[in-house]
């Protein structure tokens, strides 16, 4: 078995909404696939089907060699799942939460206790192990949740937006743990709205929108796919930023995100000849340019050009 997760034409509707619409995925054993997409793209639905929580109404999927619909218990023996919300029992202590999962996985009592202690230790929760989980910080709860999904040493792990809502320090801590798991050979499917997270953790990325994969490859391949280069323009007068963006957008016919923090307007440049035109048009518009650069696109821009909307941090920035 070299393929740990495979999905073919997965579909699922909720009422009139087609949440998944022919999703195809393949994750090699030991690899990390980042499933990247905006809210409502179908990421969580995909994970829930692969983790046997939800039935697909079209297509099929195999996880760790077993069909998710026909052999769900075989799949469940081999997966760990951490959802968007820390699914820990707040009224139980950290130790009790992990012991509970161990017992449900049929570990003998001493073994369940040993495994709970081992995981608490690993996730730096040993000191808090005896306290009710409701006294934990957000980062601690997420770590406990991840620990709970690892009790059975699953070869395949699903993480659904594991760091959403965490502060940067907790997020980095969680990333470190995830990298360790991957180094140990765990196959990982990770959903995220954060390009940075996909870029940091995933060996391959599948961009998903409206319930299907619209692009996939390594981060480098995706960047190359968007086409050559990105033209960045920083006007001398920050007040000209909006106008500069409009000039560039008109030129290429694509959207032109402007970043108010860095005072830069950036546009994908599929035709190198446009560079000269851009300079002329900016000059005609009377916009003095402080900085003009050509560079490879960031994953943010890849995302924007593929889905037509900015990724999450981008949206948060423009909303702020």
């Amino acid at each position: 078995m070299t393929v740990a997760i495979e999905a073919e034409g997965l579909g699922r509707s909720f009422g009139a909404t087609r949440a998944l619409d022919g999703l195809d995925l393949e994750v090699e054993r030991g690899a990390v696939l980042g499933l990247l997409g905006p809210n409502g793209a179908g990421k969580t639905t995909a994970v829930r089907i692969l983790a046997t929580l939800l039935r697909a109404d079209a297509g099929q999927a195999r996880v760790a060699g077993f069909d998710v619909a026909a052999q769900p218990d075989e799949v469940r023996r081999r997966i760990g799942l951490t959802g968007q919300y820390a699914a820990v029992d707040e009224n139980l202590s950290g130790t009790e939460n992990l012991y509970l999962i161990g017992r449900l996985l049929d570990l003998p009592r001493p073994e369940a206790r040993r495994r709970a202690a081992e995981l608490l230790d690993r996730f730096e929760l040993a000191e808090a192990g005896g306290r009710a989980a409701k006294t934990y910080s957000g980062g601690m709860r997420r770590r406990l949740d991840l620990a709970a999904s690892l009790v059975g040493r699953p070869p395949v792990l699903f993480l659904d937006e594991p760091t959403t809502g965490l502060d940067p320090r907790s997020r980095n801590g969680l990333w470190a743990v995830i990298r360790e798991l991957v180094a140990e050979g765990t196959t990982l499917l990770l959903t995220t709205q954060y390009l940075e997270e996909a870029d940091q953790l995933a060996s391959r990325i599948a961009v998903i929108d409206h319930g299907r994969v619209i692009a996939s490859g390594t981060a480098d391949e995706l960047k190359a796919r968007v086409g050559g280069q990105v033209l960045e323009v920083r006007p001398a007068d920050p007040a000209d930023l909006g106008r500069a963006g409009a000039v560039l957008a008109e030129l290429t016919g694509a959207g032109c995100p402007v970043d108010a923090d860095t005072r830069v307007a950036a546009v994908p440049l599929t035709d190198p000849a446009w560079l000269g035109v851009a300079v002329r048009r900016l000059d005609e518009a009377g916009i003095a340019v402080a900085d003009l650069a050509l560079r490879r696109p960031s994953l943010d821009e890849v995302f924007l050009s593929l889905t037509g909307q900015p990724s999450k941090p981008e949206r948060e920035r423009s909303a702020a």
Partner: protein
């Protein structure tokens, strides 16, 4: 089955870290016994002492029935917090989550019943039917609690939100428990209400408990209580299981 026991144990462990639950299980029945006995006792039965013997079975039934709302709240909380997702991602029987919940709630019910009876005894309530009849009364009321827990489970799995589960679970219980012979004799109520009160399962169970705890006639109401238990379980257990399956 061992998985159901493990989940039941988890539900019971929750009580230790959740004072709200403890209040519900222990303090509420004590308050009800004291309030009903001293506020209504004189008016209904002429004296608090006479009323205790009459009202304790009624308060036990009310406590058990109200307590089942926690089954629905607990399930909808576990759903909302993703805990049921976690259980469903494990290789355990689908039924373990529901049966573990109801098992734990039966233990909780029995504890509430014993607390109510103990406080009643301090105020003069006496078990006149002997140990077998008293144990039979406990078994009957716990069975009735299980039947009502399936109703609450159906509600909790349908609304999937703890607040809604609480209001939807409680609302209909007030008319149900008060329009019964739990707290006042049916004969004291207006004629049009009496048939409703007589048919009410709360009345049926209360009369069975009164029979079993005073040593009076009990066969009729006990059989009718068993019929209610069977009927409710037959209707609501499949409904709750259906709603649980609909999660996928």
């Amino acid at each position: 089955m061992s998985h159901a026991l493990t989940i039941a144990r988890r539900n019971l462990l929750q009580v230790r870290n959740n004072p709200q639950l403890l209040v519900f299980i222990v303090i509420q029945p004590i308050l009800f016994v004291l309030l009903f006995t001293y506020v209504f006792g004189g008016a209904i039965s002429g004296s608090s002492r006479d009323y205790v013997q009459f009202v304790i079975p009624g308060i036990i039934v009310q406590t058990v029935v109200f307590g089942t709302v926690m089954t629905g709240i607990g399930l909808s909380e576990d759903l909302a917090k993703g805990i049921i997702d976690r259980f469903r991602s494990l290789p355990i029987a689908r039924s373990a989550v529901l049966s573990g919940r109801i098992l734990a709630d039966s233990v909780r019910t029995a504890a509430s019943v014993l607390v109510t009876a103990a406080v009643g005894m301090l105020l003069g309530f006496r078990l006149g039917g002997g140990p077998a009849a008293s144990l039979g009364a406990l078994a009957l009321v716990v069975g009735f609690g299980i039947a009502f827990a399936w109703i609450a489970a159906t509600i909790g799995l349908t609304v999937r939100n703890p607040e809604t589960a609480q209001s939807a679970g409680f609302l209909w219980m007030f008319p149900l428990t008060f329009a019964s012979a739990a707290f006042a004799p049916a004969a004291s109520m207006p004629g049009w209400l009496q048939p409703v009160v007589q048919a009410n399962p709360i009345t049926v169970l209360t009369e069975a408990l009164r029979g079993l705890t005073t040593g009076g006639p009990a066969i009729g109401p006990v059989l009718r209580s068993l019929a209610w238990i069977a009927g409710l379980v037959l209707v609501f257990a499949p409904l709750a299981i259906h709603q649980y399956r609909r999660l996928s």
